[in-house]
Structure formats: C-alpha cells, structure tokens
C-alpha cells in the first residue's frame, strides 16, 4: 500500500528548475515511502551528540522555539507543539527523518518548517535563499539524536 514518491528537488531537470528558480544549492534526492524516508540522506548514520546540540540550541535547530524537551539547560522552550520527550519511542528513524525534512508532506497545514526543502517558498531573505534550514548531515544528526529520546 505504501506510496513511493521520488523527490529529487533541484536535480537540474527542467521541472525542478521551474520549481526552484533560486536553485542555488542542490539537495540530496530522497525517496518517501509511506510516512517515512527510510534511507539516510548521507548514506551514513548521524551523530547523536551533535544532534542534541542542534536541537537544544535555539539558534541552530530552532526546535525549542516551538517544542519543549528534556533539556534542563535551555530556559526558553516553546509550547506550540508536542514535547520531543519520547519521540524516539513514537517514531522510527525513517518517520522522524520525513518529519524533519518536510513535515508539510504529512500535514500541509503544519507550522513546523521544512528543514530540508528549498522550493515552493516565497520571499525568502537573501542570505537564506536556495538553502535548506539544515544540511543533510545535520538532519541525520538530529534524527540520530531523536532516536535516543525514549520514554
């Protein structure tokens, strides 16, 4: 039943160019299978220690703007969305990956930013144009870290 979608944003073909005129950076293509991206974007597992740093530091991952989580050192946590505590028990790595890469694929109305997407965005500030919020490596680090958040 799982729907397989090839998602090769900014692959250089005409359609992708049309979708991302800024097209400054190319993203690693990925395959969505059901509600997950089963394969690592880098082909390797990420580093959970660095992933924690990205998630818990508001300025890099921005996660704490909206989420709370088991980060006693971060005083400023948001409550726009579920706590990240236990995320690794609720979802497998592939599911977590799609939720970070582009949560809008699952819920088009979500406010959670797509962390690995450069097309279909409007009025992006110059210094961020054509760039995803996180790199493929950073996404993998975040996914690896979230996997360790078990209840």
């Amino acid at each position: 039943m799982a729907k397989v979608t090839t998602f090769a944003a900014a692959c250089g073909c005409a359609a992708a160019f049309f979708l991302s005129p800024a097209g400054a950076q190319s993203l690693v293509p990925y395959v969505i299978d059901g509600d997950a991206i089963p394969q690592s974007l880098t082909g390797k597992p990420g580093d959970p220690v660095n992933g924690r740093k990205i998630v818990a530091t508001r300025q890099i991952g921005l996660c704490m703007l909206c989420h709370s989580g088991p980060f006693p050192e971060e005083r400023f946590q948001g409550d726009l969305s579920p706590s990240l505590a236990g995320a690794g028990s609720r979802w497998n790595q592939g599911q977590l990956r799609l939720r970070i890469v582009d949560a809008g694929k699952l819920n088009p109305d979500t406010i959670m930013p797509a962390y690995y997407r450069i097309d279909g965005l409007n009025q992006v500030a110059q210094q961020f144009r054509g760039k995803p919020v996180l790199t493929a490596e950073q996404i993998e680090d975040v996914v690896a870290f979230l996997g360790t958040l078990r209840e």
Binding site: A9, A16, M64, P113, L121, A125
Partner: protein, 258 residues
C-alpha cells in the same frame, strides 16, 4: 512522470499555503498589553514613567516649530488636541493626492512636501516618530475606527492576503502565529494577537520608539523573509487590514511593549 508529480505536489503545497486561518472573534480580541510583562504594563500605565513621552514632547515642539519651514503644522492645524482628535484612530485613510491609502506617517510627509515645501522625514526618523506619537496620543482611548470607504476595499483585501500568505525560509504567515497560536509561547515569549492599536510604541527590546512597520520587519526577519522597504505600499495595505482587524479596540498610542 516525475516532473508531473513534482508539479502536482507543488500545487497541493501552494493551495495549502493559501488556506485561510480563522479570524479571531471580535469579543475574544485582546490588546498586546495583556500578553506583556509587569514592567511594560506599569510603564504604559503612567505617562511619567512611559519613555515614549520623550518623543511625544518632541512632537509637540515640532508641531509648532516654524524655523526652516514655510508654515508650522500648527499654522494650518491649530491646536492638535482638537484638530487631531480621532485622526490616527481612522488611519490609514484614502488619499486623493496619492490615489491610494496612506498611513499617518504618509500623510505627515504629504503635508511636509506639499504644504511646507520641506523634505519628507525618513520613516523611522526621530522627527517622524515624535510627530506620529504626538498626533496618535490625541486619539488615545478612542475606538479604532477604520473608515467605511469603498475605495479602501481592494487595498484592505490585499493586506488580508499578505497577512495570510506564508513567507520566508521558515514558511510562516502572520496568521499562523497571530490567529492560530496567540497565547502560546514561542521560545518563552507569549505570542500576542498582533494588534496595531498602540503604535508608534516604545519597545524595551529596541530601547526606542518604533513604528508598526518596524514591528512588521521584526516578525518578517524572524521567519527569515525579506521585508518590504519602509513606506512600501504593501505595508500600508497590511496596516489597513490590521486596523480593520482591531476595529473598535481602543487606541493605546504611545504604548509600551517588551
């Protein structure tokens, strides 16, 4: 094959982005002051401790100032306490001269250029903030009363669209925060409903008075979007929509916010 799929996905995404968030029911609207901390509230409650009054006093002086201009504001408009009462409560308003809505700052510059033969004030200049704060104060406590003027309608609708459009690398609309998530905490800051009834206002973070457009720019850079330039027609349209959204809410100018 793939390209068709990509286009279909893009279309779904843009339709979703256009989904209109629910407006806040009139009786559930709350001033930004309700979400502000005690320090802001205390400062706003007492004019002698509200730093914005430094600008107000300067505006009062500028109003009557004759040197360097053909005529002072007061030469034509006399005592602002009577002639400017209720004016800011109904701005932006339609300008015959510009054939489009102008906000209070825009009207001040129309008078500067056409009546005083003077250079326009820059949008965030001390003079402009001072004059708009002084004029705004004359409407304090009066209900926000956007004019019932059919010529404003298309601009107001454009403002509404801007309010609901997702922008920036983080892909947020104003409505995502101010209609759908007000009262919740972004990091640890409560999200207000985003009403415009206190501007220009003193913001502790700015350590200064600032215009509504400065506030817009802050929200836009927060979502990593390019902001329009100060004075851009898009901003005025957005102001027009916000005035309508805050209709009936009392003017708080010059307010204090964190």
């Amino acid at each position: 094959m793939i390209s068709r799929l990509l286009i279909a996905l893009a279309l779904t995404a843009s339709l979703a982005a256009a989904t209109r968030a629910a407006e806040i029911p009139l009786d559930e609207r709350r001033s930004g002051l309700d979400f502000a901390g005690n320090d802001s509230r205390q400062m706003q409650a007492d004019d002698t401790s509200n730093p914005a009054f430094l600008w107000v006093r300067e505006g009062e002086a500028l109003w009557a100032k004759t040197d360097g201009v053909k005529q002072s504001c007061a030469s034509c408009h006399n005592d602002a306490a009577t002639t400017m009462k209720g004016v800011s409560a109904r701005y932006p308003a339609y300008s015959e001269a510009k054939q489009r809505p102008v906000d209070l700052a825009g009207q001040v510059n129309i008078c500067r250029e056409t009546r005083q033969d003077a250079k326009p004030f820059a949008h965030e200049s001390r003079e402009m903030l001072a004059l708009t704060a002084y004029i705004g104060l004359q409407s304090r406590g009066m209900p926000t009363a956007p004019p019932d003027d059919a010529r404003l309608e298309p601009f107001r609708r454009n403002g509404e669209q801007l309010f609901n459009a997702r922008v920036g690398q983080l892909n947020f609309s104003c409505a995502n925060c101010h209609n759908d998530n007000w009262g919740k905490r972004l990091a640890s800051a409560p999200i207000p409903q985003g009403h415009a009834n206190g501007y220009p206002l003193y913001r502790l973070e700015w350590q200064s008075l600032g215009s509504l457009q400065r506030r817009f720019r802050n929200c836009m850079s927060g979502v990593r979007a390019t902001a329009f330039a100060y004075g851009a027609p898009e901003w005025v349209d957005l102001e027009l929509y916000l005035a309508w959204r805050a209709r009936g809410m009392p003017v708080e100018t010059p307010a204090v916010r964190p």
